[in-house]
Symmetry: C2
Subunit: 347 residues, 2 copies
């Protein structure tokens, strides 16, 4: 068993449990509860404007004086591609017709990458930890974050990505296995066959880098945390299990899917354009979870959004991204504070 002291000292937390940032699901209250319980709460920024992020951070800072993590995406926004968007809307047209929606209604959706404005928020609020997904932003932006004293984390899905991150100065690497829910953190390769299960990935990355390693993917109860330690990780990042807490800000449809026994997950690009694991629903089953039709991240989501809204209003998750890891059925309903303590084995 590896000692987690080095990482705990680095992050300034008591317990080796990081609540995964989950845009569209993590509430400020979840972050507060996890950090107050001794873990590291993580606030996702990607669905916030700068003003919204500042407001959320005001709430979080008012609720806890413990260290927090703010998570940012580091993708590049793709150029507009009207032809691909048209083809995508064409593929979805039968669903629009079925739902009685105007297929030509204006659509808009996006996920905001880390930029100058977000760097200003980090400088103002000085979160103790900043994590990135999809690699790292430009070096000058990373440098602005580091100058605030924040520790920097990012996810690796391969050994090559872990080495790349270490070479660019991250303080710890999140080893994100194929079991994980939500968006894969892959950034050096689009080849999904290169994606490796958590069990195989963690010890490989532990051997490959000298910074501490955080395991992510398939960890939903105490057994998973102990296994992550056995594989050489110094902490566990847990996402899906927090979706069953009352602090998760998710739809009733999503909550129901997470509690249902027989559903399976798959990696899909239909909801955003980038591979992410979720519970298989109607859109994934009918189009196939991975489709060349889905436009580049994050633009694929725009045309799906009206379908999602209409279906959720009718109590169906047919078009909703039901992000979940492969171990989602291990998760039990409980508060975020209790979950944090149980994962850490102190409850």
């Amino acid at each position: 068993m590896v000692s987690s002291h080095r990482l705990l000292d680095l992050l300034g937390v008591e317990l080796p449990i990081i609540q995964a940032p989950m845009a569209g699901a993590t509430s400020p209250q979840m972050v507060i509860a996890v950090s107050n319980a001794g873990g590291l709460g993580s606030l996702p920024s990607s669905l916030y404007s700068e003003a919204e992020l500042r407001a959320a951070l005001d709430t979080v800072r008012a609720g806890t004086s413990r260290p927090i993590n703010v998570n940012f995406l580091s993708h590049e926004t793709p150029p507009e591609d009207a032809a691909r968007q048209a083809a995508w809307r064409q593929a979805l047209a039968p669903y629009y017709a079925e739902a009685g929606l105007d297929p030509d209604q204006p659509i808009a959706a996006g996920r905001a990458p880390f930029d100058e404005a977000f760097a200003g928020v980090v400088e103002d609020y000085r979160p103790e930890v900043v994590s990135f997904h999809f690699g790292l932003p430009a070096p000058a932006l990373v440098e602005r974050v580091k100058r605030t004293g924040a520790k920097v984390l990012s996810s690796a899905t391969t050994v090559a990505e872990a080495r790349w991150l270490e070479a660019r100065g991250v303080d710890a690497v999140i080893a994100m296995g194929l079991d994980a829910g939500g968006h894969r953190g892959n950034f050096l390769t689009d080849d999904l066959s290169a994606q490796v299960g958590t069990f195989s990935l963690v010890p490989r990355i532990v051997d490959a880098v000298s910074v501490p390693v955080i395991a992510a993917g398939g960890i939903a109860d105490r057994r998973g945390v102990e296994a992550a330690f056995a594989l050489g990780a110094q902490a566990a990042q847990v996402g899906t299990a927090y979706l069953r807490t009352p602090e998760a800000d998710i739809s009733a449809v999503y909550r129901q899917a997470l509690a249902s026994a027989e559903e399976a997950t798959a990696v899909t690009n239909l909801f955003t354009g980038r591979p992410a694991r979720g519970i298989v629903n109607r859109l994934m089953a009918e189009l196939g979870p991975l489709s060349d039709l889905a436009p580049a991240y994050p633009t694929a989501g725009a045309a799906v959004a009206p379908l999602r809204k209409a279906a959720e209003a009718a109590g169906r998750g047919d078009f909703s991204p039901l992000w979940a890891g492969q171990a989602f059925r291990l998760a039990q309903p409980m508060s975020a504070a209790e979950l944090t303590r149980r994962l850490a084995g102190v409850d």
Copy 2:
């Protein structure tokens, strides 16, 4: 941590390490070495005739008085499908031309499922353990095995498969995660998106069945064994790491691929018709690892065999099934006895 006493008592072995049966790689000497070291050596039958299996068992029984496992396949041999075979040979024709091989040469290959003749071998040699892959054979055949006193194991790749096996009387379930090398044990579903990483699968199956669970997939060193125990398994089945022992009967090309740093694995059906994980080579890269062109298991291998033979003679693994799990780069060269002890933490 779970105690493995129950499973060790059941199998009659000292150490909670099962060497995976690997047809085409496991030698009788490997089985002897593992069983003599205190683990459970496993002899694969599928590439043997009845007479060859008897000869191998004579060798194994002469080399060890400890418990051994004999592994059998329980697939059904598909009807001949001349049209699919012709299409498959057509797809491979450019490679035949490149290698200067006659594309119309007669071909033959197969893997033998468990049958009356093999049941007779079990009755004569009375291996202490019999494991099956791809589910279980007909109940009357399973009953013949059980009447010899052999403990029966089989692999599950989903919770549903684990429950199915338990309901049919297996003594323990091997929870085989997506990380594993070689043929997936899936038998209730062909949907590869239903396949789950070892990290996520093991605790789910531990919770779902009351028989002991053996973890398989991605376990190549002591850390993996400890993690498997943390997840609730009572033993670990390890395959790929044994390929780096001198007891592995594999080609120089295969041995070299296992030792090389940067190669990735993928699940492919090109070599047999059934999904199996191996190191990505030329055939997998050029046709895509999963192809609708590959005829049903085990018949796809016949047309590839001449290409493999010619390439291996030239020192290339372009057409060889280089079965390996996702953690294959963790494996180090050592003897099978030393590997068994190290995995068990007694060395």
